[in-house]
């Protein structure tokens, strides 16, 4: 089968044929199409495989959408302003995390065994709904924030863009799965959370590394610990699956944040104090702890966890102990991640209210 | 005068019971002892920006509010993603223009002899009101646009910020004076404009693009129009309005020209890119007319012909000729003389042959 010659000939004649330039077939750099072809590996054809042996520049004065390695043109209008240094936005694991994210997508509609959800006692159902309302809000911010930064990431460091795009997708799925859980069992959304100021500090970030440290390392770290706790206190297989899958996604975001921080600490060591300053802010004046003398999240949130973890409103004591255990885990894991990122001195500089939960360093 | 080490030591130890003082910042010895002296124009920026303070770095990754010459604090938060090259935003006449702007401010409330406005024939009043409506819109954009760019200008190039801030003030005064004129004589605001040309200015994604389109093309044309406005004014008040506004506008044009020159000289690779900005902006003028809208063109014709529309159209043509030639002249000064050949076919007919 083919397009009929009649049809084609009706459209044009030989005289219409434009002059072809074709200079682009022989790039001036002398680069020839070689027979070196990239073959898929065990994980398929991954970015690591196609980028092997290719340089990522340390600096890039690029104001257009030119992808890395493409030849530039001199008449291109500027399209935006991007971070000029690799260190500003790079993370060594972004290709890996991106591929992982593409492989490990899931559907809240069909991958959750919704039928395993049975009616719960009112107090447990309400607590789960309140927790879901809170988490929906958290995911709102986590989805909006990366979007803000995309137009500032240099196309020469496209890996970071790709990673952030997967994060937006992940967060959409999280907010939708928590909304679904809230509505699936006779509950529904409950009270708006009280974490507005804390969430806003993520949107307020004025620098990519600041945003990443606050969102990926601090906030999502806490949320990831929380998801793992959620799995532990789940009442049925559906909830267990939700929390397990969410925690898995969240781990990627965390992984990016930690490795980005590490890259900055290693390649721009003079920024160490600045980085501490960002953490000082979120741990300190911006956290609700200091502002209102309440806990790191919010009373509503705490109470919901207490009831869920205790197994009902009659077991407040157990619930409180478990909440404290969660908090303790959150803080210790946070510190551990900063150790990995190369900021071990944070242990001494940590906000005292968080520090109270910190275990002594492992020797 | 530096503080003696003994005094510092004493302060540190003696006051420690009250609250330990650090005071290390008292010993910053980066540029101690530099004394700026006022000159003929007072203590101007040119007089102050001396010694190390006057060195405007070619590159700066200062993403904080640290002013040029201040000592960096390692823990300072980054607050923006600014231009890192001087050429991207700078011009050599910035300090001068800023000082001039500060000196030559005026008040639309008291510096315009409003009492000289007498009732006009209806068609003349309507025409003036239409022109004023258009100019009010123009000044909206001219005021908003520089504001957009403030956070992207590196703190190390504060002269640019100062200049843009003065421009925002200028445009506020302009929009207010034209609104005042529209309402002062029984007329009022008339028809709004299509605004495509105006939007082209606020759409710029690069500072030089913005400046090339706003300062040189847009304000250049408006400056010519103001000068013609002075000519067609019906009374002393209008004459003064246009005179003062034209004077302000000249500063903005002057910055634009010198910035473009700076770019052409320091980033010669961007010449083609610059032409595209003009290609696009000129093509919008084709559809909207130099005065932004047919209504406004007709209004100018009415005013210029003192009611005789045929005579007025001739004046409008003369304005156009002046606008296009002055525009070309400015581009020549900036080093973009080849624009003469590439100019949009719609503007080109107005172009006089090059002076030899």
């Amino acid at each position: 089968m083919a397009i009929s010659p009649d049809v084609l000939e009706k459209l044009t004649t030989e005289e219409d044929l434009p002059e072809l330039d074709l200079s682009w077939l022989n790039p001036q750099d002398g680069h020839k199409v070689t027979a070196t072809r990239v073959r898929p590996g065990r994980r398929g054809l991954t970015l690591d495989e196609v980028e092997a042996g290719r340089e990522v520049p340390e600096h890039s004065i690029n104001y257009s959408l030119r992808p890395r390695d493409a030849r530039g043109r001199d008449n291109v209008p500027r399209a935006g302003m991007y971070y000029p240094s690799k260190s500003d936005t790079w993370s060594e694991n972004s290709r890996l995390l991106y591929e992982e994210a593409v492989q490990r997508q899931w559907s809240s509609a069909t991958d959750i065994p919704w039928n395993t959800i049975e009616p719960l006692p009112d107090d447990l159902e309400r607590a789960m709904c309140q927790l879901c309302t809170f988490l929906t809000e958290v995911e709102f911010i986590a989805g909006d924030a990366p979007g803000q930064w995309l137009p500032k990431i240099n196309p020469d460091y496209y890996e970071t863009k790709l990673f952030l795009l997967t994060q937006i997708m992940d967060e959409a799925r999280h907010l939708d799965v928590f909304r679904k859980r809230a509505l699936a069992n006779g509950g529904g959304l409950l009270s708006e959370g009280q974490s507005g100021p804390a969430l806003r500090s993520i949107l307020d970030a004025k620098d990519f590394t600041e945003m990443s440290a606050i969102m990926h390392v601090f906030a999502e770290g806490f949320v990831q610990s929380l998801f793992r706790t959620g799995e532990y206190i789940s009442q049925n297989e559906a909830e267990k699956t939700i929390y397990r899958l969410c925690a898995q996604d969240e781990s990627r975001h965390l992984g990016f944040g930690v490795m980005h921080l590490k890259y900055v600490v290693e390649s721009q060591p003079w920024r160490r104090e600045e980085l501490h300053h960002y953490l000082d802010q979120v741990e300190g004046p911006l956290s609700l702890d200091i502002q209102f003398g309440t806990s790191a999240a919010t009373p509503f949130f705490d109470e919901a966890i207490i009831i869920l973890a205790g197994g009902g409103r009659k077991n407040i004591d157990v619930g409180v102990q478990r909440l404290l255990a969660v908090r303790r885990r959150q803080i210790n894991e946070y510190m551990h991640r900063l150790d990995v990122a190369g900021l071990p001195e944070r242990r001494d500089r940590m906000n005292v209210v968080l520090k109270a939960f910190l275990d002594p360093p492992a020797n | 005068m530096a503080i003696s080490p003994e005094v510092l030591e004493q302060l540190r130890t003696e006051t420690s019971e009250v609250a330990p003082l650090d005071l290390s910042w008292l010993n910053l010895d980066n540029a101690w002892g530099i004394r700026a002296k006022p000159g003929k124009r007072g203590l101007t920026l040119d007089e102050v920006e001396i010694g190390p303070y006057g060195d405007v770095p070619q590159r700066s990754d200062n993403a904080t509010f640290r002013p040029r010459g201040a000592v960096a604090r390692p823990e300072a938060l980054r607050v923006k993603l600014p231009y890192q090259e001087r050429a991207d935003v700078y011009a050599d006449n910035l300090r001068l223009l800023y000082e001039e702007a500060v000196q030559r401010q005026w008040s639309s409330a008291t510096d315009v002899p409003w009492e000289t406005i007498e009732p006009l024939p209806d068609n003349m009043e309507l025409a003036m009101c239409q022109l004023c409506t258009f100019l009010t819109e123009v000044e909206f954009i001219a005021g908003d646009t520089p504001g957009q760019w403030m956070p992207k200008i590196n703190s190390d190039y504060h002269e640019v910020k100062l200049f843009l801030l003065s421009q925002i003030m200028d445009e506020a005064r302009h929009l207010d004076v034209f609104r005042k004129r529209a309402l002062a004589n029984g007329g009022g605001l008339l028809s709004a404009t299509a605004e495509n040309g105006l939007r082209r200015i606020i759409e710029a994604q690069d500072f030089t693009e913005m400046s090339a389109v706003l300062h040189i093309l847009g304000e250049g044309f408006v400056q010519t129009l103001f000068r013609m406005g002075e000519y067609i004014a019906q009374n002393e008040a209008e004459k003064k309005i246009y005179r003062l506004a034209a004077q302000d506008e000249s500063r903005h044009v002057a910055f634009g020209v010198m910035h473009l020159k700076h770019i052409v000289e320091e980033q010669p690779g961007r010449r083609e890119e610059l032409h595209w900005y003009y290609d696009q902006a000129e093509s919008i003028l084709r559809t909207e007319g130099v005065t932004g809208a047919q209504y406004t063109t007709q209004a100018i014709a009415l005013l210029a012909g003192r009611g005789d529309i045929d005579k007025g159209v001739e004046v409008v043509q003369a304005i156009l000729r002046k606008q296009v030639n002055e525009y070309m002249h400015r581009l020549e000064v900036a080093g973009l003389g080849d624009r003469r050949d590439r100019m949009s076919p719609w503007l080109k007919p107005y172009l006089d042959p090059p002076a030899n």
Binding site: M1, A2, I3, V7 | -
Partner: protein, 151 residues
């Protein structure tokens, strides 16, 4: 010949033929994995005056039936080609196990100036693109059927 209750020998065009493909699709795990597909797709073989409606819903093809041209015109979109072209498509699928590079639905669509997929509604016609892999898979599965073509 039958296999699991599915007739694996059928003539084209006929309800039996589409019914056979439908059964294959609905018991195919790979088809589910392509994702949900919701569309009412018409089939026109104008020179044989044959018209069919295929209903795709969620993860399955829920119904196939013979229909009138008028009804097919109201489907989301329909696939239209003369009998010989259909024959070429189905034979190619049979010979290769699936459509070769020159007989994919998209390619056939492009080669016909009027399009293979047609609709009175530009929005609904895009369903042909939105679920392209599912439709391609549907026709590719016909390779498992012994298709006969009446003269």
């Amino acid at each position: 010949m039958t296999q699991g209750g599915v007739k694996t020998r059928a003539s084209f065009p006929s309800t039996e033929w589409f019914e056979a493909v439908r059964s294959l699709v609905n018991s195919d795990e790979q088809y589910r994995r392509i994702g949900t597909c919701d569309a009412v797709v018409g089939v026109k073989v104008p020179d044989r005056q044959k018209y069919y409606l295929l209903t795709f819903e969620a993860f399955e093809c829920s119904e196939v039936k013979e229909s009138t041209e008028q009804e097919v015109d109201n489907a989301d979109f329909w696939l239209e080609a003369p009998f010989e072209k259909w024959k070429e498509l189905i034979t190619n699928v049979k010979d290769n196990g699936k459509a070769d590079l020159h007989h994919t639905l998209n390619t056939i669509d492009l080669e016909d100036p009027q399009g293979f997929a047609r609709s009175r509604d530009g929005y609904k016609r895009d369903l042909f693109y939105r679920f392209n892999q599912s439709f391609q898979y549907f026709f590719d599965l016909s390779s498992k059927i012994e298709t006969t073509f009446p003269n």
